[in-house]
């Protein structure tokens, strides 16, 4: 037995000494202490010895175990010991991981959704090619409304549906209003609809495709005050606490009363400058949902009221970043995209 112990020690020492990296040492450990390792086999033999010899041999094996563990530990320390490092130029560039960019529009969408989701609004998705009924008819827009002209709105070559009319590229996200009422059926409703919209125009401040953002809230107790509170909350969070909003009378077919929402100009802080209208910038449109629109969505206008609001995402970004031409957003020059 003594010779065996000596042999194990020798073998173990050889394994430990030959280890060049920590991994070799781990392998050595398995070969020594693993299921069929040297020590495991050796320890098993203990039970074959006569009873009287066992304590002595046991002590020897324990000593052996300690010694091997000690050696393993020492070797591990020598393998992991830090070498001293040469001095380097820490001003030379680092090795960066490659990170891409999100489009400005996506960044604004994310920020907007975050703010409104804290007020319980949830993001929904509705068609971009939709029926005339959802885009116009259900929104209290008469047949001869200018928006329904083929000068302003894109129409799709398709059969006219007897119930829903022709197919259009939605010129606004308001097609989500009646669709959301149909989805929810019984208020409360707190919806956000963000989508690509299309209008037949192109110039410095218009592209035929743009993004619009729509909010809709329907409940029993809803007033203009709630609309004002909601806008104040958004403005403070999106533009900063120094900016305020105001409502101006306006006209939309699907809201009554209707408002235009202005926010104080960030450049002149409301004093009036070249970029704004007497200290105010137009943010978007809003209003109390027209009773006819609630009826179109089969919601009882005598019991429920609501407010809706919407604006072009590109406009709000241009207001924040001073981009002079909205067409830049869709030219997709990587030198533009990589700025943000």
């Amino acid at each position: 037995m003594d010779t065996q112990i000596k042999k194990v020690l020798e073998l173990a020492r050889a394994k430990i000494n030959s280890a060049k990296v920590v991994k070799d040492l781990d392998q050595a450990y398995i070969e020594i202490f693993g299921k069929d390792g040297l020590m495991t086999v050796l320890t098993k033999q203990l039970s074959n010895l006569p009873q009287k010899d066992r304590p002595k041999t046991g002590t020897l094996i324990n000593q052996l175990k300690k010694e091997i563990e000690e050696r393993l530990k020492k070797k591990r320390s020598s393998l992991t010991a830090r070498r001293s490092l040469p001095s380097i130029d820490i001003t030379a560039p680092g090795k960066k991981q490659e990170i891409g960019h999100l489009h400005l529009v996506s960044q604004a969408i994310e920020e907007t959704v975050k703010i409104f989701s804290r007020l319980g609004f949830s993001l929904q998705s509705y068609p971009e090619v939709d029926w005339d009924w959802y885009a116009f008819g259900s929104l209290n827009m008469p047949k001869n409304h200018p928006a329904r002209d083929d000068w302003e709105t894109f129409f799709v070559k398709s059969e006219i549906n007897p119930k829903y009319g022709s197919q259009v590229l939605t010129p606004h996200t308001s097609n989500g209003q009646v669709r959301e009422m149909e989805r929810v059926k019984i208020p409360p409703v707190r919806m956000l609809n963000i989508s690509r919209c299309y209008r037949r125009q192109i110039d410095v401040s218009h592209t035929p495709m743009f993004h619009q953002f729509e909010g809709l809230l329907i409940d029993e107790d809803v007033s203009i005050s709630h609309l004002k509170g909601t806008f104040d909350y958004f403005t403070t969070n999106f533009f900063g606490p120094s900016r305020t909003t105001r409502l101006r009378p306006h006209h939309f077919r699907f809201t009554e009363p209707s408002f235009e929402v202005d926010v104080t100009c960030g450049v002149c802080q409301g004093l009036g400058c070249r970029l704004c209208k007497a200290g105010w910038l137009e943010l978007g449109g809003a209003g109390m949902v027209h009773p006819k629109v609630l009826s179109a969505g089969e919601i009882d206008p005598t019991r429920y009221k609501g407010f809706a609001f919407g604006w072009g995402i590109e406009r709000t970004i241009a207001m924040k970043t001073n981009i002079p031409d909205i067409r830049f957003f869709y030219q997709n020059d990587i030198r533009f995209l990589e700025q943000f």
Binding site: I30, D150, H226
Partner: protein
């Protein structure tokens, strides 16, 4: 529509000592918005936006009326003074009145037709105040008679026209719809071919008026004109609008007629014009008034419940104040304990039709800024968000994988469409495209993405871009299929580059992913030899690979484009992998590599699944090397697998590993005729 209002003119009807800027602020807050204030040498000019529902405010007097209501409610010193002559007696001044025969073929074209003849007219330049005001409003002065029509239009919002009485053959006016191919030369000297069903006036045999838009040159006022027909109408607004649009010719008059004029304002406007003609052109009334009324203003009494008003405003508005505001705006009102019954004035009858309209009137004059601001108090709705909420997170993940997001137009040209290989009957085509560049709703994002790489290819060599957008495929008797897609293109990347990225993305999506060789190839976008179908949960969700040379050649791209398009609508519809706890192995594994030579045709996934199936001890199989070398022999490849043997009970023994390995070698040689390299 915007109108320009000189403040000095406004002050003729709005008597107040407030400064122009103060008036503008009040107007913007509670009425039509003053968008800009322009300063001239002696005056200010307001540039005012008037919304489509408020044609009554498309005039200097209309703005004065609004301003007076707002200022009075604010307890500012203000008074409204009407122009002179609105109620002039329209009796002939001469004993032998002129005759004018008027025939209206279809009364729906013209709800009200008024005309009167004037004699003894002295044509001369207008007085300075008229010329100055017209020019400040953007209209060129012509002569006293023509100027009056423009002046009264700007003053009261009612367009009107004058003819030389002696140029109207047989003093006869027939108002009718135009026939196909008819032409008229208008006052601006242009001959216009009229669309069918345009409203026109004919005398004996010539068209003399393009109604509501511009008069005919053949009957215009000249220096020699002595006798004049003054002519004030309301027209079918839809028809005027349509003609103006088809002719691309929208005059100030047309813009007002399109929105509808106040039927009850026609005679006062005519009277005012006669009054001015008497004053500035020494005109005498030379005929009876012609006034053909086909339709009258419909007025209904609207009852507003005070509780509803207060519910809308979020505060209590005193009933007396509410009634007073309506009165200031010209409404007749009657108060009961709970309600206000209001009758709109003629100039608001089309616009104000129900109690919510009254709420708007009261609330805006009361002052939106006075209403409290508070957050909505009701319950937050239950229920799930759409997939779009998850898309935001996905986009961010892809950004951190090193890609840049682009957003491109969803509308593409026919050239782009052809590259996709999608059949015409499956496409969504616009009926009224803006240009041929934007004609079809795109069935794939990849063509646009490739276009963007082409446009930027001189700026970088490894452009990596992606877009998330809907694509469109037509469906019978329904809206187009509009699935949300993720498209990626990588410039100068290989198949395994894009495949690895897709694998990363499926990790982010928390879904498994498989790639299958396409046997029956359907996409024209990808190169057959280096592309694959992408599947998750046994459902096909996209394609990955190298783009076909047809598309890269079209865009003249040097090098290859690796791309993928994944259908997020389908992917999000499939449930994500639910992760549950797996005990961490107590004992270290044994790791060994095994290399073997296979036929090139054997897919690596088949090798892996065979190895996995052969033995339970193998817990992990990684491909560490694939090598194609001439020394291996024709059509051969060497594959090196890294196998991790592991057991819960303890580190596998050398014998256990050997047994497992032997079995694997056996399986590989039997299944694939592989030769294991030792």
């Amino acid at each position: 529509m915007n109108i320009r209002v000189p403040v000095s003119w406004l002050r003729e009807y709005l008597k107040t000592d407030l400064a122009a800027k103060t008036i503008a602020n009040y107007l913007s807050a509670s009425g039509p918005s003053v968008e800009r204030i322009q300063k001239s040498a002696t005056d200010y000019i307001f540039d005012i936006e008037v919304t489509g529902n408020r044609p009554d405010a498309l005039s200097v007097f209309g703005i004065a009326r609004e301003a007076n209501a707002i200022l009075t409610n604010e307890n500012q010193n203000s008074q409204l003074v009407a122009p002179s002559g609105l109620k002039l007696e329209l009796e002939p001044d001469i004993s032998n009145p002129l005759n004018l025969e008027v025939i209206i073929k279809n009364h729906s074209l013209c709800p009200r037709f008024a005309a009167i003849c004037l004699d003894n007219v002295k044509i001369a330049p207008s007085p300075a105040f008229i010329r100055n005001r017209l020019s400040a409003s953007g209209i060129r002065a012509i002569n006293n008679i023509v100027d009056i029509t423009n002046y009264v239009m700007l003053e009261l919002g009612q367009p009107m026209h004058t003819f030389d009485y002696d140029k109207i053959k047989k003093a006869r006016m027939v108002l009718r719809e135009s026939k196909d191919g008819e032409k008229i030369r208008t006052l601006d000297g242009k001959t216009r071919k009229l669309p069918k069903d345009t409203i026109v006036i004919e005398d004996e045999n010539r068209l003399i008026d393009l109604c509501g838009i511009m008069g005919g040159q053949n009957s215009e006022i000249s220096r020699r004109t002595k006798r004049v027909v003054l002519f004030v109408q309301a027209y079918d607004s839809t028809r005027v609008k349509k003609t103006a649009q088809l002719l691309a010719f929208r005059t100030e008059a047309a813009a007002r007629f399109e929105k509808g004029v106040d039927l009850e304002g026609i005679i006062p406007a005519l009277s005012r014009a006669v009054y001015l003609a008497q004053k500035t052109a020494s005109a005498k009334i030379a005929s009876e008034l012609t006034d053909i009324v086909h339709a009258e203003t419909k007025r209904e009494i609207i009852t507003l419940n005070m509780t509803k008003l207060n519910d809308y405003c979020g505060t209590e508005i005193p009933k007396d104040q509410a009634a007073k505001i309506l009165g200031l705006l010209g409404f007749g009102t009657k108060i009961t304990p709970q309600t206000i019954a209001a009758t709109p004035p003629g100039w608001r009858a089309n616009d104000v039709q129900n109690d919510v309209d009254l709420i708007e009137e009261i609330a805006r004059i009361y002052g939106y800024w006075r209403l409290p601001a508070k957050l909505p108090s009701g319950q937050i709705p239950q229920g799930a968000e759409s997939e779009l909420a998850k898309v935001i997170e996905l986009k961010k993940a892809i950004k951190y994988l090193g890609l840049t997001e682009i957003i491109s137009y969803s509308i593409i040209s026919e050239d782009f469409l052809k590259l996709t290989g999608v059949k015409m009957e499956d496409t969504v085509e616009l009926a009224n495209p803006l240009t041929s560049d934007w004609q079809f709703m795109r069935p794939t994002i990849l063509v646009s993405l490739t276009d963007i790489i082409a446009k930027n290819q001189n700026l970088a060599s490894e452009i990596k871009i992606f877009e998330v957008a809907k694509t469109y495929l037509s469906q019978e008797n329904d809206l187009p299929k509009q699935d949300l897609m993720l498209g990626i293109t990588l410039q100068n990347a290989d198949f395994y580059g894009i495949k690895g990225l897709v694998e990363n993305i499926f990790g982010v999506l928390q879904r498994d992913v498989k790639f299958e060789k396409l046997s029956n190839y359907s996409s024209e976008l990808f190169d057959k030899s280096q592309s694959a179908r992408v599947k998750t949960a046994n459902t096909e969700v996209g394609t990955v690979g190298i783009l076909n040379s047809k598309i890269t050649d079209y865009f003249q791209i040097e090098g290859q484009i690796a791309a993928c398009e994944l259908n997020l609508s389908i992917i999000y519809g499939l449930s994500a992998i639910q992760r549950s706890y797996q005990p961490i192995p107590k004992y270290p594994p044994r790791v060994e590599d095994i290399s073997a030579i296979f036929s090139k045709k054997v897919p690596v996934t088949d090798i892996i699944s065979e190895v996995k199936r052969s033995n339970e001890l193998v817990k992990k199989i990684e491909v560490v090397d694939i090598f194609l070398g001439q020394n291996l022999g024709e059509g051969k490849k060497s594959v090196t697998l890294r196998l991790t043997y592991q057991n819960q009970a303890g580190t596998p023994t050398a014998t256990e590993v050997k047994q497992a390995k032997d079995k694997i070698i056996d399986v590989l040689s039997k299944s694939f005729a592989a030769i294991v390299r030792r």
